[in-house]
Amino acid sequence: MPHPHIGTKQTNHSSWVSTGRHLRARASFGGELWSGLGWESLGNVSESELRGQLATLIASFDAPVVIAGIADPGIKLFKLHLDEAGTPQVSRLSRLTWAELRSGRDLLDQALRESLRGSVVESVLVIRSGSGREQEAAGRVIREHSVGAQVIEVTGVKIEGLLRDLVAETPLRQAYDLVVVRERAHDGTLELVGRRLFAKGSVPGEPADETVTVTDPSGVLIAISAWATPVQPSALVSLHHAPLPPGRHRIKAVLERPGVVRFPGIPGLRADDRPWSEIVAALPVRLAPPPPPVHLICAVEVTGTEEEVGARQERAGELIELLADIHPDPRRVEVSVIAYGGHVFGNRYPDRSAPEVAVWAASPIQALDALRSLDAEPSQYPVGAQVEDMLAEVDARLRPGTQATGTVLLTVGARPPHPPRSDTSRVLPCPNRYDWQQLLRGLEQNHGLRTGAIWDGEPRHAPPAWRRLGSAALWSAAVPADEDLAIRLGVLPPSSAPLSLPLIT
């Protein structure tokens, strides 16, 4: 049904076509236009009628429309257009008061020329809310520039506010999706897909939600894309960074207005202005394999000066904290702390000293407490320590079948183990005759144990025993334990490119 007020002219060149209730701006504008519907033919409309007309226009236009608002104070020129993401936008091009126009008619000419310049597709709509000589003269000037301009007369309307309100209220012309990642079933590679949040036609205020998995400890990017057609994505509507911890999250969204989606309930959300292409380029091809459960056994030598033992505690503590902080699944982290000292020789009574298990398979927090409570002991026999007794203790405590857990032994100390029997080292043999090399081999074979060591001195000067204890990683007690150490020990998965986008399964 043709619209009664905004006229229709179905020629190739026509500017307005009314299809049912939808006003559409379409074809090019120019040539011999505007026959049949003259300036005068457009009558007065009520404010609500104007609203309806404009809402229809905003919901359906394709090509930019210039709207001239002629009112009592002067003339304002607006442009209604679709941005890159296809969202209707209204922007004011110029504002001229009658006083300014009186001083020179050129001003209006110039403004109109600029507004219409460079494009043949603009249509012009004049909304005249004031009547008077000047207003009518302005209308004529506009018609000189754009013969096809249509004029609507209305009284008492603030045209700018009205346009802005209507643009914000207009239903979505495109579906809005949350950009997520999923694994392709056949090969596990990742692909980008959209999860529909708002269908085409959704109106502001509408809520939506989507449950996703966050995998990157540094948070997740919430990207909204508009899809003009089911197969053709348009540009990005918005991009935010949400500092959500890894895990599953229900992301709640509210359509604020076309082009703006709000995410209530995510503290720390901020807009991210990185180019989308950069984000896509940084995505991993596949998901990192889930980190296996970890059992980190920190065996700390407590003989030495306060400073020496303090540094050892600190290093081990740093590693445990690191694990607690950035292991993707802290619930799968177990930590044990064993304190070991030296054997005692030259006493008339037998040596009863033994390593002490401060905590076994505890949480990182409990382990840190236990670690802090260790006290330094003076060394009675400073050329050897009970490494072998410690290994025997670990061997006795690891149950068969712990292979599945990534068991890592981190020995932190200075002194070499006692040999099982007298050798050229002049270090007295272990009174229990434990063979540290044999124990290590057994632990590695039966429990898949990985071994790392933090040695008091510089690793390149470390004696063979400490190199062996640090097969996977040999670190200096003078250097803070960092992610690199954790990765080399295998307690953290090797850093692959983090997945910054939400994952769906």
């Binding site: 020789f345 030259g346 037998p350 050329v383 099982p420 029997r421 007298s422 050798d423 007295l428 005759r433």
Partner: protein
């Protein structure tokens, strides 16, 4: 063959001792004081006491250091003489033909052992010439010698050789100048002691000469010479082999006896006893004094002394070899 008798004059030192720096001379004396008082079996009943106050207090000091402080003696820097009285178990009284109703009372052998312990470096250094002369004098005058050889000092064997060579030449030039010893050999009995047998690497080296049937391993006397030869052969230094030839050229073969000795012995766990996997009786920490780990078990320490005693006083002590 009748050998010329060693000088029998009573108050001269019976036994002189020498060896290279750190070869274990002073430790030997300290251990001797322990060993004699603990002797069992064939050597049971022997005691050692100081023959004068100074010697007595020295004896106590050596013993206390070894047993209580569990440390080795400091390196000796002055020539020290120890006059000790070694008292053996009493022999049964004998009847004599002219008075068969009378029994001579039982008599314990008493031997004055005068040891001269000097710094091992004496022979290499001119500044010790006074002490050196004194030591030479004691070697000349004594009738028994204890020569200590440290098998653990690899690379220092040439020092040991020099030490021995110089000492023997000096002694020989003083003793063999006149016609007293016609066969051109020194008249002494000499106990050659290969020391520090307890050291794990020496124990290993001695493995095939070792008798394991005892509480602590030991190289039997009849294996000692072969072991000594093995120790010397281990050293690439040409002088090493000469040491033995030098000794055997200077002394009568029948007056040389080899002993494989240890002043402290091996470690024996109070409950489990000796374990060949853990033999070391020394706590050795770089930068600190060595400490003795467990009980001191002198090995072949009094044997050379008693052997010398028997050789020098066959009547009182019974002749046994």
């Amino acid at each position: 063959m009748a050998l010329p008798s060693p000088n029998p004059t009573p108050h001269e030192p019976d036994i002189a001792m020498w060896g290279g720096v750190g070869s274990g001379k002073t430790a030997f004396l300290a251990s001797l004081s322990v060993a004699l008082n603990r002797a069992e079996g064939a050597n049971e009943g022997w005691r050692i006491i100081g023959a004068d106050d100074v010697s007595n207090s020295e004896l106590t000091r050596l013993r206390t250091n070894l047993l209580e402080h569990r440390i080795f003696p400091r390196p000796t820097d002055v020539l020290t003489s120890y006059n000790w009285l070694v008292i053996g178990p009493p022999t049964r009284g004998r009847r004599v033909w002219w008075a068969p109703w009378k029994r001579h009372p039982a008599r314990a052998p008493k031997i004055t052992f005068s040891f001269l312990d000097g710094p091992g470096g004496l022979f290499g250094k001119s500044e010790y010439s006074v002490s050196k002369e004194e030591l030479i004098k004691s070697l000349v005058k004594s009738r028994g010698l204890i020569y200590l050889f440290d098998p653990d000092r690899r690379g220092q064997i040439s020092d040991a050789f020099k030490n021995l060579d110089v000492a023997l030449r000096e002694v020989e030039s003083q003793m063999l100048g006149d016609d007293k010893y016609l066969d051109g050999k020194l008249p002494h009995y000499i106990a050659v002691c290969i020391t520090k047998y307890d050291e794990p690497n020496i124990l290993r080296l001695a493995e095939e000469y070792t008798d394991h049937g005892l509480e602590l391993p030991r190289v039997p006397d009849d294996q000692a010479r072969d072991f000594f030869r093995e120790v010397l052969a281990r050293d690439l230094d040409q002088n090493a082999g000469i040491i033995m030839r030098l000794l055997e050229a200077s002394f009568h073969e029948s007056r040389i006896k080899y002993f494989v000795t240890s002043s402290i012995g091996m470690y024996a766990d109070p409950d489990k006893g000796f374990d060949p996997d853990d033999p070391s009786n020394i706590i050795d920490v770089p930068g600190q004094d060595q400490k003795i780990r467990g009980a001191v078990h002198p090995i072949n320490i009094m044997e050379p002394v008693i052997w010398l005693g028997r050789m020098l006083y066959p009547k009182t002590m019974g002749r046994e070899r």
